[in-house]
């Protein structure tokens, strides 16, 4: 199983993107089950919302309000890429600055491991979502991304989370 980073999904629909060919091959030929998380949906919507002049859709969709247009495109991406959305309902009780709060499990483990992974906030949360899936018993082995910054942390991520970070690859 592979957790797919948002940039790989976006690249599949951007013909001039350096990652486009590999992203298309990955989604077309890789046999591994592909998953994303709720934060991926938020990110897809946020990214699409900023691409008003760069998003080309059929004329029938052009007349739709922007909110419905990008929602439809995000859902189309998910269906077309055949990615499953995995969501962990587990929360954790933690005490921060003297206040006991209940937070999603991936936030708690992100807080605990931020110092060793040294990643950007959203990168860290994506990886922790992937780790949660793995910890729930699923055989999640890969985190697929085109982000050089995350790829450059592959070794420390493998050591800490047991997940292989890799660019999109048709042989996964």
């Amino acid at each position: 199983m592979a957790y797919v980073d948002t940039n790989v999904v976006i690249a599949k629909y951007a013909p001039r993107d350096p990652l486009n060919k590999d992203a298309r091959a990955f989604f077309s030929y890789s046999k591994t089950r592909k998953v994303i998380s709720p934060i991926s949906i938020v990110e897809l919507m946020a990214v699409l919302s900023r691409l008003e002049t760069e998003l080309e859709v059929p004329a029938e969709l052009e007349s739709e309000p922007w909110s419905r247009r990008i929602r439809a495109v995000a859902e189309f991406f998910i269906r077309d890429c055949r990615v499953s959305i995995v969501s962990s309902p587990i929360t954790a009780r933690t005490k921060i600055a003297g206040t006991a709060i209940i937070i999603p499990l991936e936030y708690q483990s992100s807080i605990r491991q931020a110092h060793s992974l040294k990643l950007k906030t959203v990168d860290l949360i994506h990886l922790k979502c992937a780790e949660n899936v793995k910890k729930s018993g699923a055989e999640l082995n890969y985190f697929v991304t085109g982000d050089i910054d995350i790829l450059s942390h592959a070794e420390v991520i493998k050591d800490n989370l047991g997940i292989t970070v890799t660019p999109p690859n048709r042989d996964l």
């Binding site: 001039r16 080309e56 859709v57 059929p58 419905r68 990168d123």
Partner: protein, 85 residues
């Protein structure tokens, strides 16, 4: 229109009165109706049914064409990373 009794806190009533005093709404009733209407639209909009639109795109996809294209000025990695800074 129907009349529905709703309990509001003093603070909520104070804020609604402030909106009417500022002339944003003509009455408490109009204020509550407008705020409620907006919230309902947003809440229902969260799960708005775009399935017919998605199906249209998927049907176009089956014909071999890509119905959605992103003419990005930057790379996908950069576009996504911008939102992560």
């Amino acid at each position: 229109m129907r009349v529905i009794p709703v309990r509001l806190t003093d603070e909520e009533v104070r804020k609604i009165d402030l909106l009417t005093k500022r002339g944003i709404y003509r009455s408490r009733s109009e204020a509550i109706r407008a705020i409620l209407s907006k919230q309902l639209e947003e809440k229902l909009g969260e799960d708005e049914d775009v399935a017919p639109l998605v199906n249209k795109l998927l049907n176009l996809r089956k014909t071999g064409e890509n119905p959605v294209l992103l003419r990005l000025k930057k790379s996908a990695v950069e576009v996504v990373a911008e939102g992560r800074h």
